[in-house]
């Protein structure tokens, strides 16, 4: 067996992984994955929103009603919460993605740069989520 394969550690289980205290860049990384998974799972819901919002004026009523009257047995506030989760997922995923592009293009991969950009990613995505969320829930 080649040396390189012998040095590999065994399979890491989730309980092992949870023992680590993640640095902020690690938090951004796992949330990048989680936010992507959320958007993947909710893709049909997003397409449904797109469908009813553009198809006709009658379906547009359905679109707006989803946020007030709800969809089926799901109340409007629940739909708003789901959309809020999607807003956060999109913002975090997009900003974390731009962070990757920025690191690739400028080779900004020093520990301090990684930490600063991680703070920026977490803070800006949360701030924008709060702002858009307040609008979504009619606070302004």
């Amino acid at each position: 067996m080649p040396e390189i394969t012998k040095q590999r550690p065994g399979t890491m289980r989730l309980v092992d992984a949870l023992q680590y205290r993640l640095p902020l860049a690690g938090v951004v990384s796992i949330l990048h994955r989680a936010s992507g998974a959320i958007m993947f799972a909710l893709l049909p819901f997003v397409i449904w929103l797109f469908d009813v919002s553009v198809t006709s004026e009658i379906s547009y009523e359905q679109f707006t009603a989803a946020f007030t009257a709800g969809i089926g047995f799901l109340p409007g506030w629940f739909i708003k919460l789901v959309v809020l989760a999607l807003i956060w997922a999109f913002l975090h995923h997009a900003i974390a993605g731009v962070r990757h592009l920025w690191m690739d293009m400028t080779h900004s991969v020093a520990l301090s740069q990684g930490r600063q950009s991680a703070v920026f990613t977490l803070a800006s995505s949360l701030l924008l989520t709060v702002l858009l969320g307040a609008r979504l829930f009619g606070l302004y």
Binding site: L43, F50, A94, L101
Partner: protein, 121 residues
């Protein structure tokens, strides 16, 4: 140093890494640019954003072509990302294959629906 070529070559890992790395960035850039293009049209001053203006944004031919491209880019991007998740966490080969096939079906189905919505506008 052990031999790392011919029949002794280490073939674990993925030889498609570079292609996926690049396509993930190209598709991401496309989606980011699309977001800016859409946002500009949404916040552009004019009549309040209701059905007419919202549907109008997607009704022009250039916007349809652009949106179509972004839908395909998104499906490709999601495929690479979700497949990575299965490869990282799901070890049994049969289950992993099943999940990957389900992902393909999911993404192709969603793409078809989105394109249908777009092109009947």
């Amino acid at each position: 140093m052990s031999v790392n070529y011919g029949s002794k070559r280490v073939v674990t890992g993925a030889h498609y890494g570079m292609r996926d790395w690049l396509s993930q960035r190209v598709t991401a850039t496309l989606m980011a640019l699309f977001t800016v293009v859409l946002l500009v049209q949404v916040v552009w001053p004019g009549q309040p954003l209701g059905y007419d203006r919202w549907a109008g944004i997607f009704s022009s031919q250039w916007m349809k072509v652009l949106t179509f491209t972004v839908i395909v880019a998104m499906a490709w991007h999601a495929w690479v990302g979700v497949r990575d998740i299965w490869m990282d966490y799901v070890k049994p080969v049969g289950l992993r294959l099943a999940l990957q096939v389900a992902t393909m079906v999911w993404l192709v189905g969603c793409t078809g629906w989105a394109v249908q919505v777009l092109w009947r506008l």
